[in-house]
C-alpha cells in the first residue's frame, strides 16, 4: 500500500493516466477557430501499465474496455482533486436576502 501515494514511476500493472496527441495543429479541422488551431488536439485516458515507466516516458496501457493505448505517462495512481471551490461570499448574501424577503429575517425569530 505504500506505493499508493504520489510517485514519479509506474510499475507494470499500476493504474496510470497517459497523454497523447491526436491531431497536430497542422492536422486540425479546417473549421476550428484560430486560437484552437494553434494548439494540438490532445487526449488523456487511464489504464493498467503494460510495463515499468517513468513520468514523461511512453508507455502502453490497457484501458477498462481492454483497448491498448500508447501515450506519455503523466500520472501514476490518478485520483480526483475537484472540489466545491473557494468560499463564494455572494452566495451568503443571497441566502440572507431570501430569508429576509420571505420570512422577515431576524424579526421572525
Amino acid at each position: 500500500m505504500k506505493r499508493m501515494v504520489f510517485t514519479m514511476a509506474a510499475k507494470k500493472g499500476d493504474w496510470v493516466r497517459v497523454h497523447d496527441t491526436v491531431l497536430t495543429p497542422a492536422q486540425r479541422a479546417p473549421q476550428v477557430p484560430d486560437d484552437t488551431k494553434a494548439v494540438p488536439l490532445e487526449l488523456w485516458v487511464k489504464g493498467i501499465a503494460e510495463s515499468d515507466a517513468e513520468i514523461g516516458e511512453t508507455v502502453e496501457v490497457v484501458t477498462l474496455t481492454g483497448r491498448k493505448v500508447s501515450g506519455e505517462l503523466v500520472e501514476v495512481f490518478p485520483t480526483y482533486s475537484h472540489s466545491f471551490g473557494d468560499y463564494v461570499p455572494e452566495l451568503h448574501v443571497i441566502s440572507c436576502q431570501l430569508r429576509s424577503i420571505l420570512f422577515g429575517g431576524d424579526d421572525n425569530e
Binding site: D20, V22, L23, Q27, R28, A29, Q31, V32, P33, D35, T36, A38, V39, P40, L41, E42, L43, W44, V45, K46, T63, L64, T65, G66, R67, K68, V69, S70, Y80, H82, S83, F84, G85, D86, Y87, V88, E90, L91, V93, I94, S95, Q97, L98, R99, I101, L102
Partner: protein, 480 residues
C-alpha cells in the same frame, strides 16, 4: 489511438479520411439505415422513423422500470412561488412545480435516454456502447451499461490547452468511472467527433447517440408521467411545461410525451442560458463559461439545424414543439439555484435549474391559478455545483458582481441579480428562429432555386417549424 485501428483494410486515419467515411461508420454503429426515411430533397419521414425504429411508450416504460428509471416525484415549489408573487402584479404569479429528475439512478433525466439506448444496443448484440458527451448523459450511459452488463466508453471535451478542466466535466468523468466506464478526455475542439468515429471503428461498439429515435422516445415517458401526476394531484393539465434546451432532445421527447398523454393545450417553453458571443470551439473561451450545457451555444444551432448531430437524421427536433424560447443569464441561474437550496431545501445542479430561473420570471406574467411545471432537476456534487462554478469563474478572470443581470457579458462577467425581482427571462424571436431553420434546410441541402423545393418539402418545413405552408412559402421567397 495512434495505432489502434483493428481493421487492417483501413489505413488512412487523417481527419478528412475518417470524416469522409462517417456515414458507413454510423450505419454500423447505430443499426439504422436512415435512407429508409428519406423522401425528397429536404423532407424525410420523421414520424415513420420514430415509429419503426423506436419503441412504444408502454415498451419504454417497461424497459426503464427494469433499471429503476423514471417515476420521479413532482414537488410544488411553494416558497419560490411565494417569492415570485412578491414581484408580480396583483393576481399574478403562477404555481411552480418541479419534476425531480435527479431521482433517477445516475441523477438526471438523461437516464431515460440512456436506458433505451443501452437496452437497444444489448438487444442488437453489441458488446459495448460509446457516447460522446461531457454531460449527464455520459454518467447515465455508464450507469445503464453497468446495470445491463455492457462495456462503456465516454468521450468528453474536458480540458483547454493549459490542461485546465471545467469542474463540472471533471466531476462527470469521475462519475462515469464510478460506474465502470472508460473515459477518454480531449482538449477543446469539434474534432471530438473524429476521435469518436475512430473509437467506433476500433471497438465495433454501439453509438449511444443522444439523437436516435429510441433515445428521444426514452424522454417521452417524462412528459407522459408528468401529465398523469399533475392530473392526479391538481385535477388538470399544467398551462406550461418548461424545459432547459441544448441539443433539443429534452424538449422534443417531453413534448411528444405530453401529446401522447393528450395534454394538447399545455404550452411547451424552452429555456437556455444566454452565452451569446462565446465561440464554442474556442480554446481560450472554453473555460470562460460557467455552463457546459443548457446554453445558447447548443440550443440555438441545434434548434435551427437539428441534423448537425452525430447521426444523419436527429430525432430531436425542438422547433416542431416549441411555443416560446426564453433566455436567462448565468447570474440569474446561480441565484435561483441558491434559492432552491435555501428556501426549498433542494440542493440541485445549476444547469438543470436553467428552466427554473425562466419559470420564476414567466410565472409573474401568468395568473395565480395557472401552473408551470419545470420538467427536470439534476444531481449536484463537488465540481458540479454553483459554488464550484462561481469559484472557478473567479479564478479564471471572470468578474462576479451584483447588478442588473442584463448587463452580463458572457466570458467577462457574471451579474447576479441584486434582488430576485430582477430575474427577467427574455424571449427569443421565434419567427427568426423558424426562418433560420428554413434557411439552413435550403443551404445544407444545396437547393439553388425555389423550384427545387417540392410541395412535400414545404409541408415538411411547416411541421419542422410548427407553422403553416403560407409561413414557409413567405420565408422561402425571402431566400431566393
Amino acid at each position: 489511438m495512434s495505432n489502434a485501428v483493428s481493421n487492417p483494410a483501413i489505413v488512412d486515419n487523417s481527419y478528412e479520411a475518417v470524416m469522409s467515411r462517417r456515414n458507413e461508420i454510423m450505419k454500423k454503429a447505430v443499426g439504422i439505415d436512415y435512407a429508409d426515411f428519406e423522401s425528397g430533397a429536404i423532407a424525410f419521414d420523421y414520424e415513420k422513423m420514430m415509429k419503426e425504429t423506436g419503441y412504444t411508450l408502454e415498451e419504454i416504460q417497461k424497459i426503464q422500470s427494469q433499471t429503476s428509471v423514471g417515476n420521479t416525484p413532482i414537488f410544488e415549489l411553494k416558497n419560490i412561488t411565494a417569492l415570485a408573487r412578491k414581484y408580480a402584479a396583483p393576481g399574478k404569479g403562477a404555481r411552480i412545480f418541479v419534476k425531480d429528475e435527479a431521482g433517477n439512478p445516475s441523477g438526471s433525466f438523461k437516464e431515460r435516454r440512456a436506458a433505451t439506448a443501452v437496452y437497444h444496443a444489448k438487444r442488437l448484440g453489441y458488446k459495448g456502447v460509446i457516447a460522446a458527451t461531457s454531460g449527464n448523459y455520459g454518467a447515465a450511459v455508464a450507469s445503464q451499461a453497468a446495470m445491463q452488463g455492457l462495456k462503456c466508453i465516454v468521450v468528453q471535451e474536458c480540458f483547454d490547452s493549459r490542461g485546465v478542466g471545467q469542474p463540472e466535466i471533471v466531476e462527470k468523468a469521475r462519475k462515469c468511472e464510478a460506474h465502470g466506464a472508460e473515459v477518454v478526455q480531449l482538449s477543446v475542439g469539434p474534432e471530438l467527433f473524429y476521435t469518436f468515429l475512430r473509437l467506433l471503428e476500433e471497438t465495433g461498439y454501439f453509438n449511444a447517440s443522444l439523437y436516435t429515435p429510441f433515445g428521444i422516445a426514452g424522454v417521452e415517458t417524462l412528459g407522459y408521467e408528468l401529465i398523469m401526476q399533475m392530473r392526479e394531484r391538481v385535477g388538470k393539465d399544467p398551462d406550461v411545461v418548461i424545459a432547459t434546451n441544448a441539443g433539443g432532445g429534452n424538449l422534443t421527447g417531453t413534448a411528444r410525451g405530453l401529446i401522447k398523454a393528450g395534454a394538447v393545450n399545455t404550452k411547451v417553453v424552452a429555456a437556455s442560458v444566454n452565452l451569446a458571443g462565446l465561440h464554442m470551439a474556442s480554446d481560450t473561451m472554453f473555460n470562460k463559461k460557467s455552463f457546459t450545457t443548457g446554453h445558447t451555444g447548443f440550443g440555438v444551432p441545434f434548434s435551427t439545424w437539428p441534423d448537425r448531430s452525430d447521426v444523419p437524421r436527429s430525432a430531436a427536433r425542438p422547433l416542431r414543439y416549441m411555443d416560446r424560447y426564453l433566455l436567462v443569464n448565468q447570474g440569474e441561474v446561480f441565484y435561483i439555484t441558491e434559492a432552491m437550496a435555501q428556501i426549498e431545501g433542494l440542493e440541485r445542479g445549476p444547469a438543470g435549474n436553467t428552466a427554473l430561473a425562466a419559470a420564476f420570471s414567466l410565472a409573474q406574467e401568468m395568473d395565480q391559478d395557472q401552473i408551470i411545471v419545470v420538467q427536470e432537476t439534476e444531481y449536484t456534487g463537488a465540481g458540479k455545483h454553483h459554488a464550484s462554478q462561481l469559484s472557478f469563474a473567479r479564478n479564471n478572470g471572470i468578474e462576479i458582481v451584483f447588478g442588473e443581470p442584463k448587463t452580463e457579458v458572457a466570458g467577462k462577467t457574471i451579474v447576479i441579480p441584486e434582488n430576485p425581482g430582477m430575474i427577467k427571462a427574455v424571449d427569443m424571436d421565434m419567427t427568426k428562429l423558424r426562418k433560420s431553420l428554413i434557411k439552413n434546410a435550403i443551404a445544407n441541402n444545396k437547393i439553388e432555386k425555389l423550384e427545387g423545393v417540392s410541395d412535400a418539402d414545404v409541408a415538411f418545413l411547416a411541421a419542422e417549424t410548427k407553422t403553416d405552408e403560407a409561413f414557409v412559402r413567405t420565408a422561402l421567397k425571402e431566400l431566393f
